[in-house]
């Protein structure tokens, strides 16, 4: 009974995570410039990956795999912002920013 519930919950998590990954992919295609695309490429990914991992943990339910899943989550959360920031900074500094899309730019005044 409990196993069935966990299976269904895990399946729901997997589908939710996959949908978020799909939305992220569409965002990367559709958003106008590098910085906007970074939002889509890195962010729905965070919740998407967490949901996928939660789904995985609910389906697998063995301590050995749970440890690995926890590690993946921790490293994902720790590294995603760093990667995003490096790309965003490189894009900004090399001028790959569409200024017509910006309402304000307080970094330019610095």
């Amino acid at each position: 009974m409990l196993a069935t519930a966990a299976d269904w919950l895990g399946a729901a998590c997997l589908v939710g995570g996959a949908l978020l990954a799909l939305a992220a992919g569409i965002g990367v295609l559709r958003f106008p410039d590098v910085l906007d695309r970074m939002h889509a490429a890195t962010k729905p990914q965070v919740l998407g990956v967490l949901l996928l991992l939660a789904g995985l943990a609910l389906r697998l339910r063995t301590p050995r795999d749970l440890g690995m899943v926890a590690l993946v989550a921790v490293f994902q959360l720790a590294t995603a912002p760093v990667a995003a920031q490096m790309i965003a900074r490189a894009a900004y500094r090399s001028g790959r920013v569409d200024r017509s899309l910006l309402d304000a730019d307080e970094l330019a005044d610095r």
Partner: protein, 229 residues
């Protein structure tokens, strides 16, 4: 400098002890990660983890992080809970504008000066803010403790204000969870008080007017209050 040589030596010893304690904590985490990577806890993994951890700490030394606060479990739970809520809401928002036909979002780059400009607070706030969709850290100015953020889907000036406030709220929750009491006081001051060029370094180590030399955040507070209306 009013401190005598004995006091200075005691301070150095205290610093050394703290540094060793930090290293031991880091080693413990590395051993845990090593065992999780192998998937099981055995004596062999424990030993190999200790060796690997020690090698990492020796060959890739990092600048020591000053952690002056203390952990508050209840506030930590609030931080985590609010973070998950924000994560879900913002993910849904970005996913929606990604699939909304014909919608071109406008964005902005805003500067948010943090009220507790320590390295640890700057890094953790940047991480938390950056994990939530809709805000992207472009640049972090360590000297002034300022985060430069790219904010997505801006519909007017009120969104800029709202995002600034949101970042400062995240900072406040973070300081409530792990900050020292002096940092807590800074965070509860009205947010407009930190003018550019104001007291930027609560450690006081670079401030020539600070007679105590490198000290904890506490000695700075009285001067802070004098500066405020």
């Amino acid at each position: 400098m009013t401190a005598g040589p004995g006091e200075a030596r005691a301070g150095r010893v205290r610093l050394g002890v703290r540094r060793w304690r930090d290293q031991a904590v880091a080693l413990g985490w590395l051993v845990l990660i090593w065992n999780l990577l192998w998937g099981e806890f055995t004596w062999g993994n424990l030993l190999a983890g200790l060796l690997m951890g020690a090698a990492v700490l020796v060959f890739f030394p990092l600048p020591s992080v000053t952690f002056a606060g203390r952990l508050r479990p209840a506030a930590l739970l609030v931080l985590a809970g609010r973070f998950v809520v924000e994560l879900v809401v913002a993910s849904a928002h970005i996913a929606r504008i990604a699939v909304q036909p014909g919608y071109v979002p406008r964005s902005a780059v805003i500067a948010v000066p943090l009220r507790v400009p320590t390295d640890l607070n700057l890094a953790l706030t940047a991480e938390l803010v950056s994990l939530v969709p809709g805000t992207l850290v472009i640049e972090a100015d360590r000297a002034t403790g300022t985060l430069y953020l790219h904010v997505m889907d801006v519909r007017g000036p009120q969104d800029l204000v709202a995002n600034r406030r949101r970042v400062l709220t995240v900072e406040r929750r973070l300081v409530r969870a792990i900050g020292s009491s002096a940092e807590l006081r800074r965070v509860y001051e009205p947010s407009a008080d930190r003018a550019p060029g104001g007291p930027a370094d609560p450690g006081g180590s670079t401030d020539p007017a600070d007679p105590g030399g490198p000290a904890g955040p506490d000695p700075v507070d009285p001067t802070d209050k004098e500066n405020r209306p």
